[in-house]
Amino acid sequence: MSPLALIRSGLPAMLSIVLLAACGGASSAPASPGSAGATAAVSAKPSAAAKAAAGGDLQALIDGAKKEGHITYYSSIDPAQQQEIIQAFQDTYGKDIQIDSTRLVSGLLVQRYAAEASAGKVVADVLTAADGNFMKDAAQKGWLAKVDDLPALSAWTKQYWTGYAAKVSVAPLNISWNTNLVKDADAPRTWQALLDPKWKGQFLAVDPRNAPILMAWLYLMDQSYGDNFLRGLAGQNLRLVESTVPGTQQMAAGSAAVLAPGVHGSINALLKQGAPVSDATPSLTIGNENWASVSASAPHPFGARLLMNFLLSPKGQELINRDVSASVLPNIAGAIALPKDYRDADYAQASANQAKLLDLYGIH
């Protein structure tokens, strides 16, 4: 082949690389690596935004957010609710603030956030995850911003504000079942009812290694009902699923009769579609506690604070919690009430006893 032919044959490849560069440039614009000048600008912005927030100046936050035009939101909240929150935010503050949201199960989400933060490449402006311990760690590492003086915080229950993160929703763990396979009278409404031999081989369980709250649930069960309870559950020939959402869908399809533990949020989405599912919350339980926070090096600090403020406002709380979870604010329309014997999850003990708990539960 002559050199000219060689170049000609290489042309498509070269064109593709140019195309890719253009494509890459456009798509990476929201998180482009900073040059020295840009870095200086970014580091100047948080302090300006912080000042605006500290002054309780909502209008300054709104103006700043509109100028930034973009917010990146990492959240483990149910996707349908997520959409409603974003929609309501844009209805309130206008569509010129674009929101890109990444939804992942909590374990994966904090992993990604941590990898990005420790690499110095923060992408998320606001983070909502069901991992209070992670929030503590992240605050210590300097990854979270201290947004003490957001306007909405004045009406917030101080007990649920760490200085860096706010508890925005509590979704109690519950039991769900397929109404085509389970008669209402037989339905398991307490944890002990799960040991009924009827459910042997009909039981879906979420892999507790995937989320700290599930480990904490195992610990609670062990503490409340003894080692034999967990052994009994293991004897039901559990089938493991990676996370609650696909698990609930499989249960709804009839793959199993019962799923435990789960949350009402996943059931709600399916109920709206007419799926044959139902659930019940035992009075003794713990819950998915979702914490929200603002990144210290958020690429869009004004937008971040504005969104965080929205999440803490009564309207935001209503959207997050309606029908599915409890709010720490009183009198939120649609928010559920926590069961009588709701406890705080003991992550420390659960982690310390992890080997024993997994062994009893039959996971090796």
């Binding site: 082949m1 498509p12 490849a13 593709s16 195309l19 890719l20 494509c23 890459g24 798509s27 990476s28 614009a29 929201p30 998180a31 482009s32 690596p33 990146t72 483990s76 996707p79 890109d100 990444t102 939804r103 992942l104 199960v105 374990g107 994966l108 904090v110 992993q111 990604r112 941590a114 990898a115 990005e116 690499a119 110095g120 490449k121 992408v123 991992d131 760690d137 290694r209 995937n210 089938r239 493991l240 699923v241 990676e242 996370s243 959402v245 696909p246 869908q249 499989q250 709804a252 399809a253 009839g254 793959s255 399916l270 579609q273 007419g274 799926a275 992890q354 080997a355 997994l358 090796h364």
Partner: protein, 577 residues
Amino acid sequence: MQAPALPLSARPTGPALKLSPLGALSGVLLVLIGLLLLYPLLITLVRAIAEAGSAAGVGGPGGLDTSLIPVFINTVVVVLAGGALALLIGSALSWVNERTDAGLGALGDLLPLAPLMVPPIAGVIGWVVLLDPRAGLLNVLVRNALGLLGLNLSQGPFNVYSMLGLVAVTSLYLVPYVYLVVSAALRRLDPYLEEASRISHAGPLRTFLQVTLPAIRPALAAAGLLTVISGVGLFSVPVIIGTGARIDVLSVRIFRLLSTTFPPRTAEAMVLALALLLVVQALLVLQRYLVRSGQHAAVGGRGFRASRVALGRGRSWARAAALAYVLATAALPALGLLLVSLQRFWTPAVRWDQLSLVNYQFVLIQNRDTTRSLVTSLTLGLVGATLTMLIAALLMLHSYQARGRGRKLIDAVTALPATVPHTVIGVSFLVAFSRPPAPLYGTVYILLLAYLIIQMPYAARTASAAASDVGSELAEASRVFRASEQRTFTRVLLPLALPGLAAGWVILFIHMVGELTASALLSGTSNPVVGRVLLDLWNNGSFPQLTSLAIVMSAVDSIFVLVMLRFTRRTYDVTIS
């Protein structure tokens, strides 16, 4: 008067190594590939050691404890059984298609690739949808049929959540590798051996077992090694079926260590990865022992028309069996996916009047993540596959023609990335390329480089098989006529190797477009790719949305496969006649 001193360049060179331009380029590429793999790993190792000092002790539950033993055993069983099954089916299929008169022509070439046309994680979910013991669509159909015969089963008869299910679905994903490598070798096979065998009154099956198979032994070895390498790193199948069947394998264990805990247990994950590295290295040594130059049939310099073995009565059976297998592995899961994608929630009790396209609307129009990910993935696939295949072709063809000089080094370096699980590559890239001198995190380039390094071993194996089949005769003839090394490469070797290389390109493209494991860590909101978005939908979305995105991807993949196969066939014809 003294004769003028010769300029330095004209002096006769001494016994030092003579490096041609092509050789120099190969060397540079090799160094770059090595760096691309080792630099991130080194940075990660250093940080892991630094962090291990402060973090909790190594050896906690779920890491390097006794629970590892069943994990290792499971991995070995699944990979070997799945690989063996894939080798059997893949070789038989390619023989039926290439060397017998039961061949299906273009359709036969396409269909074994069909499992590749559905992105891995979605393909597995297709099988779950079909063969879930209670809710599986196929199981329900079979149970209904058995009920008509008086046999009433409450579940099954097939259970995808079992070792059998895991091995079967794993082998499905390994058959395409075998098929492509072996059929390329069969296409190049000089039939004089087989004709001699038939003249000696050996039947077609005997010919196949005693003549054909031994003649393509290097291709079989390459295919076998390929199945082990990909089997060991396979993630999407065991994460879905393995978890349900309570069968843990190494790839999932490593993923859990890195993704579902904070902080990631990098030190332990790296130890497991090193163990994998040792095993694959040992296998490479084995392959080099099996492939000895000159002991296999290569493309002869004489022209020939490949004649086909007449199967006689067996022809329609072989054809039907091949067709049935291929349809079952491709059409059935795709149909399952399609049906679920049209539902509002997965249920075997299909309400035909309630089917709708609402999920496609969401995936193609409403959701920014999915639409952007489609564009990004396709572009990355095109550029990445071309770049990787070119590099691999250059390295392999040059080394085989340079009489194995540096071949050991090239084999070692190009095979090295396969010994590192994709999750570790993902994490190492994340850590290393988020800081100077190359801050690439959040861009498409970090993905491009990750895909390149991940797919390099497969590209190299394919190019190696293609190159070894192109014997040295033609290259020597070219050199006798004083063609330069570059000219020999571009006008003789490359065109001859092209069918094998093009077939490899297709696999590279499809893999890059649907890549999941590394993308889960490297792809974010600024550089979304389909693999990561599918994982997000699996974890947080709904089955119907996941399956509709999978169907869209499959449609796109299929078009590329069809175009590529047409191109491959035509080139082949031109070269041979």
